[in-house]
Amino acid sequence: HEQRGESDDQSWRTPMKDLKMEEESSGVEKLEPGTTFPPTFSVSEIKNKQRRHQMFMKLKQEKRKQKMQLKKKRRKEREALGDKAPPKEVPKTIENQRVFDETTVDPEDEEIAFDEGTDEFSAYFNGLTNPKVLITTSDRPRGRVVKFCEQLATVIPNAHVYYRRGLALKRIIPQCIARDFTYLIVINQDRQTPNGLVLCHLPDGPTAHFKVSSVRLQKELKRRGKAPTEHSPEVILNNFSTRLGHTIGRLFAALFPQNPQFVGRQVATFHNQRDFIFFRFHRYIFKNEKKVGIQELGPRFTLKLRSLQKGTFDSKYGEFEWVLKRHEMDACRRKFQL
């Protein structure tokens, strides 16, 4: 009788406190072999949604409390040790955890230096050719694309904008080569905003196809300066580390004239972060030797490389050096191509 009464009490009463303790213990302790624990509930086994939610919240609070206590303890220890404290741990970032890419360029690699001395851009980097850029759109540009083209033309010195009018690219290219153009930029659009960019280096150069996103025209920038002047800007290329990145970096560098006019104090930046290339155009001023102020002029946009093709634009028969294959390349979060 008494036993049954007790068992009844245990099974039927289930007061709040008991349940809570059992769940905490189930969250915190591990079952050791050989010892018998009373049957524990885990939070997920409660059928009632509200109760389950409450229990879960309590569990979370407990965990957070423990974490804060641990942190405080560590901080006190660190302060107590003072100088002898172990160095602060570096948090893991995606850049830290990046999978090592075997095509990363070593600055002293002779093979790469030789390649770069003899590739399509060598003429530019040896100072033989001056960049001359032709900017055009797809058929019937509308809205922001036109403005974007115009602003790009102000940013890139020696750039000309021409309307497409339904001409085939394969016919435009020989004409451009005949007129000494070194670059062809085609901006594709989707619903009146630019969403694609084809950058073609003209005398037999590689063709890169990018996806364009987050375009901000000059009007839409906050705190922007006056219009960019005619001076040739400097170029900053950040984080292009692999072979492919190097090629793309040189592609961008060859857009601008070799000798920047420092009087103009303008700088165009192509910053690669996790395979996204951010383009910014600033005017800088050195306030003193340790401080520089920058003011953004000009459009800003983000590029993501979709494909790189050897030779001028030929999507059917061209030889593709690199194509973005989503399933292979986007599968790993820590693997980047550029």
């Binding site: 850049e95 600055p107 987050s214 000798n259 009087v263 395979d275 996204f276 800088y284 520089v292 920058i294």
Partner: protein, 326 residues
């Protein structure tokens, strides 16, 4: 027995025809054998026991004919004739097959055939022109990429990176003498002095202490002098004690040309700076700029004129005070 009029009476106006499409102004016929698409007494394939059409399959045109003798055999009702690809020959074929047929059907067949050949020609031309390929965007992928881009933007810290890079370039002297911030020139000169003192120490090992002491003393003197004159922007030691009076006019005319000259001077060294240069190149450049700065001809001229510009204010007050005294 085929009673065309009765059939037309029924389906044409009074009762239902499943091929008829009614619109506000006109009725159309959806029958595949209809020669014009309009619902008319003369162009209804059901209400005419003698009928002809042109139909096109995969670029080939066929002439279909229906005769009253075969009205009882629905499987064999339509007679199909393949027309030649040559336009004129095909027209002759139509004429030949539809000889003695009502004028209306002959005319309409030829018209239809003409239209069909025209659109086939246009299709063939379009294939040769640029073809637009529509690529579908996957919504999930797009939103994923957008999010990744935002995170990458935050991780990039663009403003900091750009500022850092610009300061690096200033340090390494890519801008040459455009900006004269005394600390860097001072550092450079110090480094030069240290290099000299080290080389001296290596060469003359006998008189170690004295030489080192002497060079250190020299560098100390330099430091003091530079701190004293830093406001007046005299970074180079050679011109410290000397005073020269330069006329106003000269400076203003040639000031700009001097800057241009400086730019030209720097350009040859800057070509290499444009690439992601290795450290070796940068060091060479720094040395080059140092060597350029060392030469008194360019450096001192520029220095004096710059200094003059800064002292302009003082001179004006002086002249004013002179006038007062005189």
């Amino acid at each position: 027995m085929q009673h065309d009029d009765v059939i037309w009476d029924i389906i044409g106006n009074k009762q239902f025809c499943s091929f008829k499409v009614k619109t506000k102004s006109q009725n159309f016929c959806r029958n595949e054998y209809s020669i014009t698409g309009v619902c008319n007494r003369s162009s209804c394939p059901l209400a005419n026991s003698q009928y002809a059409t042109i139909r096109e399959e995969k670029g080939q045109c066929f002439l279909y004919m229906k005769e009253i003798e075969r009205a009882a055999f629905p499987a064999r009702m339509w007679e199909k004739v393949k027309l030649s690809k040559n336009y004129e020959k095909a027209l002759e074929q139509i004429d030949e097959n539809l000889i003695y047929w009502p004028r209306f059907l002959r005319h309409k067949c030829k018209q239809r055939f003409t239209k069909i050949t025209q659109y086939l020609i246009r299709m063939r031309k379009l294939v040769l022109k640029r073809q637009r390929k529509l690529v579908p965007l996957s919504r999930k992928v797009e939103s994923r990429e957008k999010r990744k881009e935002e995170k990458a933007l935050i991780a990039a810290q663009l403003d900091n990176a750009i500022e850092k890079e610009l300061l690096e370039r200033l340090k390494q002297g890519t801008y040459g003498d455009i900006y004269n911030f005394p600390v860097y020139a001072f550092d450079k000169a110090l480094e030069q002095q240290d290099a000299e003192s080290e080389s001296d120490a290596e060469e003359e090992e006998e008189e170690d202490d004295e030489v080192m002491g002497g060079s250190f003393y020299k560098s100390l003197c330099l430091m003091i002098e530079k701190v004293f004159y830093s406001e007046r922007v005299f970074p180079f030691v050679q011109d410290v004690g000397q005073r020269e009076f330069v006329a106003e006019d000269e400076v203003e005319e040639s000031d700009l040309s001097d800057f241009e000259d400086m730019n030209k001077l720097k350009t040859s060294s800057d070509e290499e700076e444009q690439d992601e240069s290795s450290e070796e190149e940068e060091e060479e450049e720094v040395q080059a700029s140092r060597s350029k700065g060392k030469s008194p001809a360019n450096g001192s001229l520029v220095r004096k004129k710059r200094a003059y510009v800064e002292i302009e204010y003082e001179q004006e007050t002086e002249s004013a005070s002179r006038r007062r005294t005189t």
